[in-house]
């Protein structure tokens, strides 16, 4: 029992001045991120306090901050949820097409084409939405209200310009398609090859193979990708600001002239002309948006981190 077999002590590398400077600067940069994020929260809160503390009569609308921000928050969530309802099935389809249906050689160019959708700036989507999409969908909306008007969502009178929340949601859906598609595609491609081949060997058709092997494997990935897309849609500003014809109301109808505005679009539209307490109110509403997206994104990250499927090398 000699003391040779002690736990080996870790060998400490010699610290040169260059090492100290370099590692200190990386730590500094990393800590700067903490500082920046804390600053974002702190400065927003500091500038919002006047709006929270103000006399309710002084806030726009005259009923206090919360009743000012409530319809906006509703519009934000409602628009993003419709966009998500449109985008998620489409994205899963596209991701499946690229990962399992398209010819192998075409897969990566096709993925690049879809990624191009993400490269288009949001203000251009806004122009396209109001210049091309909104006029184009009016006949379709008319048809919807005439034939499905009994369904509350499609109740009339229909907007004559097409600048409704459904149009906005369609544009938002196009904007969040690429991110959901890219993430789902990644996770579909990671499906264990043996699972797929086992399913096919048992005589499954391609669709049955996808339902038995690919989709169950990819479900958490799809959920988190959708949440990230939702976070994107919640914060999207310019497309909504340009396309929507807004009003301060809470309404589920999709095709009418008066639509609930979103927080982000309201800020973009009102900020340039605001002053004093109005500015504080807008910043406070921005803080609410920050909180909403933070919650949504945290849920997404939690789902991703519960299953470390994305991290690759080493």
């Amino acid at each position: 029992m000699t003391a040779v077999a002690k736990t080996p002590t870790a060998i400490k590398a010699k610290q040169r001045p260059g090492d100290r400077v370099f590692s200190a600067s990386t730590v500094f940069a990393g800590s700067l991120i903490l500082v920046i994020l804390a600053a974002v929260a702190l400065f927003l809160i500091a500038q919002s306090v006047p709006a929270f503390a103000a006399d309710p009569a002084d806030i726009v609308g005259g009923e206090g901050f919360w009743s000012y921000v409530a319809p906006l928050a509703f519009g934000t969530v409602w628009g993003a949820v419709i966009a998500l309802a449109i985008a998620v099935p489409l994205s899963i389809g596209i991701a499946l097409f690229i990962s399992h249906y398209a010819p192998r050689r075409l897969a990566s160019p096709l993925g690049y084409v879809i990624d191009l959708l993400a490269a288009v700036p949001s203000v251009v989507y806004g122009l396209w939405g109001i210049g091309v999409l909104a006029p184009a969908v009016v006949p379709f909306y008319l048809w919807l209200t005439e034939n499905l008007g009994w369904f509350p969502l499609f109740s009339g009178p229909v907007s004559g310009t097409g600048r409704t929340i459904l149009t906005v949601a369609v544009v938002l859906a196009v904007m969040i398609l690429p991110i959901i598609t890219a993430l789902s595609r990644e996770i579909f491609l990671q499906t264990p090859r043996l699972h797929e081949e086992a399913a096919l060997a048992l005589g499954a058709t391609r669709w049955e193979m996808i339902r038995m092997a690919v989709l169950p494997f990819g479900r958490p990935g799809i959920v988190s990708a959708s949440m990230l897309g939702l976070g994107r849609a919640l914060g999207e500003t310019m497309a909504v600001a340009i396309i929507l014809s807004p009003a301060a109301i809470v309404k589920f109808a999709l095709l009418q002239q008066q639509n609930p505005n979103t927080i982000a679009a309201n800020i973009a539209l009102s900020f340039p002309e605001s002053f004093g307490l109005g500015t504080n109110t807008l910043i406070a509403s921005g803080l609410m948006l920050f909180v909403i997206t933070l919650v949504v994104n945290s849920i997404a990250r939690y789902i991703v981190n519960r299953r470390k499927a994305f991290s690759g090398a080493n």
Binding site: T26, V124, G126, L127, W207, L289, F290, G312
Partner: protein, 359 residues
């Protein structure tokens, strides 16, 4: 009383109970043809005013899906029919996603070509009402603000990524990873509000300056740079680091001389893509950089026009001769898309040229 033992109904058991090979495309062509004829008849009968090609193709595709499903169900059974239906739906989803892309590119190019002339790139909007004018002030603003944002966020982002991959252990690294994720999700308009709330403390209320825009953009850009650099650094094989250590090279020199050059292509690609991402941001610049009609070279005082805000502003506040404003907006959008595409292209070329030689 001989029970007829089923005479073998089919000649070839391998192709039995299957639709022939060309069935899919045949049915597709047939259903499009049927709907085209229906719509043509409707038009000639005076029911619809003009020929509805889009409607014919959409309904034709629906008819195709239903017919093929029914036929396949009858001949091949429910499982293969479902498989065919799934294939159709998945392909339709892809085609559907291409429609907005094609339509958008087509619209921007056709409308944007109207004012895509030298004047657009040499004139500002100072004292311009109606026709004429250009976006040189916006181009200058975009270039300055984006460069300033890149100059701030690239060092911070890269060093943070190096910390996370090479040094980071324990609480701080976990916290930073989490917060970078949080930062990725910050809505762009909130970044703009942050920059405003920050600068309003040091200056007067209603402050507008280009540098504020750069700060807002770097809040959006830092997490993208961190994420992409981190991914690239993780791809560097550990053997390279260990070989360097074994030769007695200090850690920081290993990082600077071995790890970074190996991943340079990926990092540059990531930075270029990050620039392409933020160069189209409108909302934060609208908040903190504001809009103006004149050229402003100074980042630190006064309003500064940028290309996305130019597009928005021209479209929203149309004056006399509205068409001139709309044309300028579309041309601005075209220039913006061209810049973003160019940056994407550069990123791909960089990735290819600087990629480590593998032999």
């Amino acid at each position: 009383m001989a029970v007829t033992t089923g005479a073998r109904p089919f000649a070839n058991s391998l192709t039995a109970g299957r639709l022939p090979r060309g069935a899919t495309f045949g049915v597709l062509a047939a259903s499009w043809l049927v709907l085209l004829i229906v719509f043509l008849l409707l038009q000639m009968g005076g029911v619809t005013e003009n020929f509805n090609l889009v409607g014919a193709l959409v309904l034709g595709t629906v008819l195709f899906a239903v017919t093929l499903f029914a036929v396949s169900f009858a001949v091949e059974g429910s499982r293969l029919a479902k498989d065919r239906l799934a294939t159709i739906l998945v392909t339709c989803a892809f085609v559907l996603a291409l429609i907005p892309l094609v339509s958008l590119v087509f619209t921007v190019v056709t409308f944007g070509a109207a004012r895509f002339d030298p004047q657009f790139f040499s004139y500002s909007m100072r004292n311009v009402v109606g026709q004429g004018g250009g976006a040189i002030h916006a181009v200058i603003g975009t270039v300055e603000i984006t460069l300033a944002a890149a100059a701030m966020s690239v060092p911070i982002g890269m060093l943070t990524a190096i910390y996370l991959v090479e040094y980071g252990r324990g609480r701080l690294a976990q916290a930073i990873t989490f917060l970078v994720d949080v930062m990725t999700g910050i809505p762009s308009i909130v970044a703009g509000l942050f920059a405003y709330a920050l600068f309003v403390l040091f200056t007067e209320p209603g402050v507008r300056m280009g540098f504020g825009g750069a700060v807002a953009l770097s809040v959006l850009m830092i997490p993208i740079v961190v994420r992409s650099t981190e991914e690239m650094l993780k791809l560097v094989p550990n053997e390279l680091r260990e070989a360097s250590y074994a030769l007695g090279v200090p850690k920081w020199l290993t990082i600077v001389k071995v790890v970074l050059p190996t991943s340079l292509a990926g990092i540059l690609t990531g930075v270029t893509l990050a620039i392409a991402r933020v160069i189209g941001e409108t909302a934060p610049l609208l908040i903190i950089a504001g809009f103006t009609a004149s050229v402003n070279y100074n980042l630190f005082s006064d309003r500064m026009m940028t290309l996305p805000v130019f597009v928005y502003n021209q479209y929203v506040s149309q004056g006399q001769d509205a068409q001139a404003y709309i044309d300028r907006a579309w041309t601005g959008a075209l220039v913006l898309i061209l810049i973003v595409m160019l940056l994407n292209l550069i990123a791909r070329i960089v990735a290819r040229v600087f990629a480590p030689k593998s032999r």
